[in-house]
């Protein structure tokens, strides 16, 4: 178990920059999830931590030791791959002990570790089987087992659940969370699925286009997204955005207006008259009503019923769409015009560069 520190890490392939000045510090025993859209550089970052790809610049420290030039096996890491990457010509036991043989772990110790990992992951019955005779979920557990027996300082997971079906994904997610509780090890976990990120992480790192957009606790990211990207990425369905302008400032309050919503008063903070803004409100924070800090009107075009809630897709005055979550059995009918309001703590204001403006609402 160890902390992990990444400083000014860069990765370029020719002219394309895949990672751009990444700085990240991970505490001992922390479960950190890297999340971001496909192609944003999550796997690249993970592979660089593992030592599978070299850096174009920057440092990686594991347990306080600079590991830039160390081979993957010398870094004290273990990695679980998306495709599981089990050796097809070895049975489960051999898959788990294979690497230990080359790092000088004596046979009795190997057996002990395999037995322990097998017990933890319920693999005892499967030890003599070959990967081809295992289901996807079982293969996944073997892959995790192979990582556990290495007794690494840091576990690295690259989208480990994306090849599993939905039900298995949920149960394996729970298992991984349990495992972390049990092993108390440092984990860096890559996913493009924000539900996985929210449920598993102590801290989430949101990445976009090779940069870190925000690092924070799951609920902090949800309630206080640092910028438009994080606001739009975390939460499903995504946050609604409305173009707006600062109309006037009076007595420390700014009057924010836009074409598609009724005017809104926020703490002026750093705002000045004429600023272009974006107002963001999450679908789940919109309720039917008349009174609220924020109010927008729309014509219902479609209602998606999920059971515990329904999502109404509404057309705004300016022709664009926005989404509202509706609870209960009474859902609006398509064609109906409804007014939706949100309380001021749930209204996010972003400036022209996309950064969230501290309006002191929460």
């Amino acid at each position: 178990m160890a902390n992990l520190r990444i400083e000014q890490l860069n990765k370029r392939y020719g002219a394309t920059t895949v990672l751009n000045d990444v700085n990240l510090s991970i505490e001992d025993g922390e479960f950190v999830v890297l999340v971001g859209p496909s192609g944003c550089g999550k796997s690249t970052l993970l592979r660089m931590i593992a030592g599978l790809d070299g850096a174009s610049g920057g440092d990686i420290h594991i347990a306080g030791k600079l590991v830039n030039t160390l081979a993957p096996a010398e870094r004290g890491i273990a990695m679980v791959f998306q495709s599981y990457a089990l050796y097809p010509h070895m049975n489960v036991r051999k898959n788990m002990t294979f690497g230990l043989k080359f790092t000088g772990v004596p046979p009795t110790e190997r057996e002990r570790r395999v037995a322990e990992a097998a017990r933890m992951l319920r693999l005892e019955e499967l030890l003599e089987r070959y990967p081809r005779d295992l289901s996807g979920g079982q293969r996944q557990r073997v892959a995790i087992g192979r990582a556990i027996v290495r007794e690494p300082e840091v576990f690295l997971f690259d989208e480990p659940l994306s090849n599993l079906d939905a039900a298995l994904r949920v149960s394996t997610r729970v298992e991984i969370a349990n495992l972390h509780r049990l092993l108390k090890s440092t984990i860096v976990y890559v996913t493009h699925d924000q539900v996985e990120a929210m449920t598993l992480a102590d801290r989430i790192v949101v990445m976009n286009k090779g940069r870190i957009e925000q690092v924070g606790k799951p609920l902090d990211l949800y309630y206080e997204p640092a910028n438009l990207f994080v606001a739009g990425f975390i939460g499903s369905p995504a946050m609604n955005f409305f173009e707006a302008k600062v109309e006037s400032i009076e007595g420390g309050r700014a009057r924010v207006t836009g074409a598609a919503f009724r005017g809104l008063d926020v703490a002026a903070a750093s705002l000045s008259v004429g600023d272009t803004l974006t107002v963001g409100v999450r679908p789940e924070h919109l309720v039917r009503g008349e009174a609220g800090a924020f109010a927008a009107e729309g014509i219902v075009e479609l209602v998606e019923r999920l059971g515990e809630a329904s999502f109404a897709y509404l057309r705004r005055v300016d022709g664009r769409m926005f989404v509202a979550e509706v609870r209960g059995r009474q859902t609006p009918a398509p064609g109906e015009t409804v007014t939706l309001v949100a309380a001021s703590p749930d209204v996010h204001i972003f400036d022209a560069s996309g950064l969230r403006v501290a309006t002191g609402t929460r």
């Binding site: 998306q82 089990l86 097809p88 080359f102």
Partner: protein
């Protein structure tokens, strides 16, 4: 009707089914029969006849085979050719295939520059005509005007030079190595293709497990391409026991010196078509061809029953 028929074909009228079978299987059956089965059967039939000087043929049963294996005049060159052929094959198995595997392994390493260039260069000789290859090597190794002796001298190894193609002791191995030089590209390409099929993540997993490239090759890559290696071995076996052209183009039908490079192909050629003082004997030639066919068949059966069954293919 067997139960394994699909419901669609089972419900079809017999005539329609027959028409369908004829349409899809007919052309292949006709072409295969005409160009493969018929010549084979005709050759075997011919091997049971003998012809007198007037050219009239008479049925003699297995007498030709008795002569071939029993009469010292025939059996000595036959066993000589078979033995040489085994040596020819052994050299290919021990040099061509390991070198091909090694080259493929090198090409599959990460961060090798000019991969495409090396691949093409090493595959180039395979695309040359055997006649050109034979002629070139004949010139290169010639003690009179060949570059080989000069090249060895230039690096101070002149004393090692010998007229390898002319010595009874070394001619066969030299010819085998020329053939290896020409065809090493084929195992290399087949195995390289198989190596490319191994997922990147599997290699990454092995690296995380602490294996270097050499160990990755022997512990991961090699076991996973075994099916291709065994396929290459079979192809080598069949090609070697049917070989003829290189020996003929370098050494002529007499496969000198003193039949030291005679293999089954050249032996068959002399028997069937005749050469210098030896008259052509189509019926004995057919017998030699039939024996060659059975040797290859036996080799293939041994492979299928002993090797193929134990080899497992991996889906990634």
């Amino acid at each position: 009707m067997p139960e394994s028929l699909s419901p669609v074909t089972a419900q079809m009228p017999r005539a329609k089914l027959a028409g369908l079978l004829l349409f899809f299987l007919g052309p292949a059956v006709v072409i295969y029969s005409l160009f493969s089965i018929y010549p084979l059967v005709a050759t075997m039939a011919l091997s049971t006849y003998t012809s007198d000087p007037s050219g009239a043929r008479s049925f003699v049963g297995l007498a030709n085979f008795q002569t071939l294996l029993g009469d010292a005049l025939w059996s000595k060159p036959f066993w000589n050719a078979l033995g040489n052929n085994l040596i020819f094959f052994t050299v290919h198995m021990c040099v061509q295939n390991p070198v091909g595997i090694a080259l493929a392994g090198l090409l599959s390493l990460p961060r090798v520059r000019l991969k495409g260039f090396y691949r093409t260069v090493m595959f180039l000789p395979t695309m040359l005509s055997v006649v050109i290859v034979g002629f070139s090597w004949n010139l290169i190794l010639s003690p009179l005007w060949g570059v080989a002796s000069g090249a060895l001298k230039a690096v101070g190894l002149g004393s090692l030079f010998a007229p390898w193609l002319g010595l009874e002791s070394s001619a066969l191995v030299t010819l085998s190595l020329i053939s290896v030089w020409q065809f090493v590209g084929i195992p290399m390409m087949l195995i390289y293709a198989a190596l490319l099929n191994i997922p990147e993540e599997l290699i990454d997993a092995a690296r995380v497990d602490g294996l270097g490239q050499l160990r990755i090759f022997f512990h991961i890559k090699l076991p996973l391409v075994l099916p291709t290696i065994s396929l290459v071995s079979v192809l080598t076996f069949v090609a070697n026991f049917n070989a003829f052209d290189l020996i003929y183009s370098v050494k002529g039908a007499l496969a000198g010196p003193n039949f030291a490079t005679d293999i089954l192909g050249t032996f068959f050629y002399r028997t069937f078509f005749g050469n210098q003082l030896q008259l052509g004997n189509p019926t004995m030639g057919a017998a030699v061809a039939t024996v060659m066919f059975f040797i290859i068949l036996l080799g293939l059966c041994l492979y299928l029953f002993l090797v193929q069954r134990r080899i497992r293919r991996y889906a990634f």
